[in-house]
Point group: D3
Chain length 274, copies 6
Amino acid sequence: MALTRFIELTGPDIAALSPDTVAVLPVGSVEQHGPHLPVATDHLIAEAVAEGAARAAAEHCDVTLLPGLVYTKSDEHAWSPGTLWLSASTLLAVLDDIGRSLAAGPVRRLAFVNAHGGNSALLGVALRELRTRHGLRTFLLHASLPADQGGASPSPELGMGVHGGLNETAAMLHLRPDLVDMARAERSVPEHLAEYQHIGFGRPVAFGWTSDDFAAGDGPGSGVVGDPTGATAERGRVLVEAAVGRAAAALRECAYFRPDAPPPRRPQGEPDRP
Amino acid sequence: MALTRFIELTGPDIAALSPDTVAVLPVGSVEQHGPHLPVATDHLIAEAVAEGAARAAAEHCDVTLLPGLVYTKSDEHAWSPGTLWLSASTLLAVLDDIGRSLAAGPVRRLAFVNAHGGNSALLGVALRELRTRHGLRTFLLHASLPADQGGASPSPELGMGVHGGLNETAAMLHLRPDLVDMARAERSVPEHLAEYQHIGFGRPVAFGWTSDDFAAGDGPGSGVVGDPTGATAERGRVLVEAAVGRAAAALRECAYFRPDAPPPRRPQGEPDRP
Amino acid sequence: MALTRFIELTGPDIAALSPDTVAVLPVGSVEQHGPHLPVATDHLIAEAVAEGAARAAAEHCDVTLLPGLVYTKSDEHAWSPGTLWLSASTLLAVLDDIGRSLAAGPVRRLAFVNAHGGNSALLGVALRELRTRHGLRTFLLHASLPADQGGASPSPELGMGVHGGLNETAAMLHLRPDLVDMARAERSVPEHLAEYQHIGFGRPVAFGWTSDDFAAGDGPGSGVVGDPTGATAERGRVLVEAAVGRAAAALRECAYFRPDAPPPRRPQGEPDRP
Amino acid sequence: MALTRFIELTGPDIAALSPDTVAVLPVGSVEQHGPHLPVATDHLIAEAVAEGAARAAAEHCDVTLLPGLVYTKSDEHAWSPGTLWLSASTLLAVLDDIGRSLAAGPVRRLAFVNAHGGNSALLGVALRELRTRHGLRTFLLHASLPADQGGASPSPELGMGVHGGLNETAAMLHLRPDLVDMARAERSVPEHLAEYQHIGFGRPVAFGWTSDDFAAGDGPGSGVVGDPTGATAERGRVLVEAAVGRAAAALRECAYFRPDAPPPRRPQGEPDRP
Amino acid sequence: MALTRFIELTGPDIAALSPDTVAVLPVGSVEQHGPHLPVATDHLIAEAVAEGAARAAAEHCDVTLLPGLVYTKSDEHAWSPGTLWLSASTLLAVLDDIGRSLAAGPVRRLAFVNAHGGNSALLGVALRELRTRHGLRTFLLHASLPADQGGASPSPELGMGVHGGLNETAAMLHLRPDLVDMARAERSVPEHLAEYQHIGFGRPVAFGWTSDDFAAGDGPGSGVVGDPTGATAERGRVLVEAAVGRAAAALRECAYFRPDAPPPRRPQGEPDRP
Amino acid sequence: MALTRFIELTGPDIAALSPDTVAVLPVGSVEQHGPHLPVATDHLIAEAVAEGAARAAAEHCDVTLLPGLVYTKSDEHAWSPGTLWLSASTLLAVLDDIGRSLAAGPVRRLAFVNAHGGNSALLGVALRELRTRHGLRTFLLHASLPADQGGASPSPELGMGVHGGLNETAAMLHLRPDLVDMARAERSVPEHLAEYQHIGFGRPVAFGWTSDDFAAGDGPGSGVVGDPTGATAERGRVLVEAAVGRAAAALRECAYFRPDAPPPRRPQGEPDRP
């Protein structure tokens, strides 16, 4: 039972890893997060959650941490300087290439720890591509579930804290307060969306949006969709620790999950299975 | 307020459509659905729901029904004869081409009505691609939500009725009973999956699976994931009518939805907005 | 000897089909056909001819009818609203994916029944691609041969009835008179082309054209290239029946054609070979 | 009125060409042509016909000869050493790139002079691509029409002299007798194909074939489809001169052809139009 | 004159950067480096040199450090577990996407700091692609020049210290001694290559090689091409400091280089230009 | 020991070639070379050097000369009429297709003889692609090394004779004086570049440039980067003969080079190895 950092190993070390080792790939983004948060927000959250979860899970199973994907799919923020993004086809190719070459070695389990909602659909496609093309067991974990994908969003955000809002801001105040400028944090909740019944963030009908679609006037708006104003480091700490805990438990399961059989009575290295 | 079938119109007719017309694209599949259902199952459900919803919605807004996509992304069933499928990149290209050429005319609203869970992630990607590349307002409706994507699955299926199970079989008994062979319908629920805590259909951690992954023995299994044995036409009728009703209400909203403003007080053609 | 509709079969049904079953793929289009015909014109003709021919041929051989391709390559009509088209590379990818997945099952014979002249060259490319990549025996049948590809075009059209002209209009008056508006049918024959000696529709030298290239003035013209004014349902009936007859006889041959041997003395299920 | 060789000109020379200059692109192949002909057969014929036709046409119009495409699409001969071929997508990309960069200069007319039947369908696709994408007027001339595309094939070949047969061998005896080994020329006509009624070379129903499909036994056969045994240099001279004459007349027309008007009364540089 | 870390900035911060800011992109690799070095070797060197050079250069000009590319093109080591690599087309797409989205903001200067010889050719292609497509001024700096690309390789390596040899090992002993296992460092110099005259590392004739091509016996060899045995941390320190110094001076020049004019007399922020 | 022209051989001839035959692929370009040189300059030099070298080398080993690639990657000259160029991805696909189909026959050695500096990086990528994908031993020879890639450039050019300068002009005066117009040859050396210390032609830091980047004024300049004014045919003769001699010796080595062993004591057909 061990945590390794994949890139700190030698080739022969990697050749000796167990097939049941879970390779963990943090997936972040480089994209505008409003005037108060750095473009690295998703990247930093993905790294922190993946790191914490990998460390905790490694008490029970073999985990190897891959270098995270920093540049991903952020076309909904393409209107803003600072957003550096790959097209859907490029990112699919990157994921396919990583899966292909990982599968050329012994490891057979790959878990994405994703912190950017704009990647979720594409990672859902990749889950199956890497399963069918390269024989990997693939898993998708969310470092922080955005409000439009089932995550919690507190009431002042009306369920629309999907980008740069309360939770992301709180997480950053916990992780990297030096990079947060609360003086520039402003509420930007498209309240009018709440008046629709079917379409909307987290509603049954998803829609194609960009983050400058919601501003009522001429400009693109602040780039925030949510209300960061009440964020605190303490809230961030709680959120991040909860996310780490959930991800750690999930990674542990990734190490023994198989679709054709129940979990082993006593998973490797544990006195009894929870 | 009218329903048109896009392909029954002439070029000049289409040039005269309103930008707020909702173009409806049914999205099905051609894939094995076990020994008791035809490979057209998703296609027929998508068409039926889209047709019914379009007709109902057209009392309140302009709707134009596009020819459905029959061949889509079914790589999870590629192991079975009868599954005809497009790769992710091909299907994205098809959707992009349709969006591009639709946007060369006046219509600016496009709603997918999807009946195949294996398409959901990719359609999620396409929603944004068509929004950013071609300026279309795009929407994703589910003709029947599979159990692993938030749909209801009755208790005998343990929430795993994702393919050829109770609801799909019931819907087909309602729509095309001549194509259902209940004598060959058998329960095939991977009950062992219920013992996992994080990973699984509809669980927080999605995984990359193919429909022959769950059989305990050597063979690929029946191709069913669910329990079709209790399906009835009456249950199917109720399900399909509910799906049509939900989709009709959603399509109606698609006709006036805009991200930067609330719904109009009185949407076009209605005495009062619900 | 039987006709099946591929998508009405189950996976196991399809696994039991004979390798010599001829899979028939109707290929239509969604493109402007002038002010008097619907954009579905080619689609409806392809489906009608394929359906009729498949039924007739199935008295002598196994035929399975695939869902037709509705969206195809119509870039010559891209200038007009209502034309929904795939790029050459997308359509090649679609055909390749269908061929690949069909060949994963038992069927080894695939016949395109094409009703859109703009697809002919690309289908010619696909014939060989699917032969060399997937081992399928592939065939290209024309539901209605346009005048520039060897089809008959009556004298008032000067051999230029390539789009929305006499024959297509007549076929539609027979198949779907409700979708034809003869009051808007106008002659639009680029008579000046007849003065060239080498280049032209059906001439030795093909040229790259779009359907708005031929109008003398500023606008794109009506989109018609031909003279629909004399079309009658009776002419359409004769044309369609002839096309069905030719296609049926050809499909029958597709079932036993092999490049390295003559036809069998008595093809399957027949008293004597014609 | 002049003939130029494009690549012998300087950049400023090319910038000064007339838009009505016809750029001529010979299209050959590198592919097995049986044991008696070189793999360059199509290339040499394409170059000879294009050269002769360009010189003759240039008495009446401006012609510029481009370097020919030697490597093209020969997948039907991929089974044989010596066949060097581009995939369909690669060749389309090459043609698109040439069209794009030619169109960045003044010349607006591009004529393919093709000598390989396996390229015809793909060049048919390219005709329109280069028209719609780059605004070029494009034309497709056949240096020697194979029997399956409307060319003449003498009776001993039963209309099947499509590859390495009488006419190609004769043309090579005229152009490069040093490269022909008549001692190894053998008849290889798949006579059994004549017994089919619909499918076959030059028949209404095209089929996907490779040149090793026709041999009755185990091996691939000689690679010839036709009967070269009676070929003479004199026949070749007549054929090539006729092809040059036809192509010259066609190129002349390419210089003034426009789809929206008749030919000018007196085409440039001519006393009277033929 | 300032150093920023791009991803620590907000969108509005980035919108306010000067066009002459030099964006620095470290380019590493994840690939086997023999039994004594981690697969991160190139990545760590690229980051260290880029970091040091950026900090030093930022005393004289604006520099912004981008997140490095970790997964790059390592197909020459694809035979070894632990090598995670992108295909040439994927990596070109990644670079193009980064260039495109960077160019959507104000920064117009992009410098690659590359530490993996296997990337050099492809980055050479990208230099021009990003210049012509996105209008960026692009530069390629080498963090450590491999022996086959003009770098120094001490005499025991016969000029063949191209991978995991003396210099890379020394650099790692300086940067991350905890990741180096000198007990497993073995000399692996393909001395026989020195007997060729034209072909070889750093010779006039480059050749296509993989790192398992050089072993005399059956196996792939150790994966090292060079002689790490004499490496010391002190040598590493000297090498890295020299590389940093060279790169810093070059980055400074990148900030004012323009192809159509000499350097300014006094580049921004300097008393006098060196 | 023989020289063959690949395309003059028959399929069976090629099937009988030795695996150690060196296939030589000349790589030129079609691109502006200033007002005094033809766009074919690189093409003609590549062909002349490859031809001469192949003939000389064939006294000692088997060499087969392939038809040269004329259209290649010249995007740095895309601004000028007369430049016909393939994109990087198209040219990589062409090289891959040629490599794939060559490797389907017996020949296992492929040498590029390149005369266009703009191709060098991409050919460097292709060297490895064809090695890893198709198992070919690949080599890159330079017909004339441009000044920015290690070639000599005389002092009046300040090391910047990279395009249309002294050496290329001299070579053309030797090879095809009829295509050189010395009256239009003018010096165009961006002398200001010499004032930079790190960035520049042949400097440690490569940069992304186009040939119209260097002109001080508004226009694109002459397209020349160098000083052709002193060129003489005699200088050209010396240069070309030297290039032929170097390439011949290198090709000879290509015939017996193997990465895992020294050269044979007595290479085939030689009394003693130099």
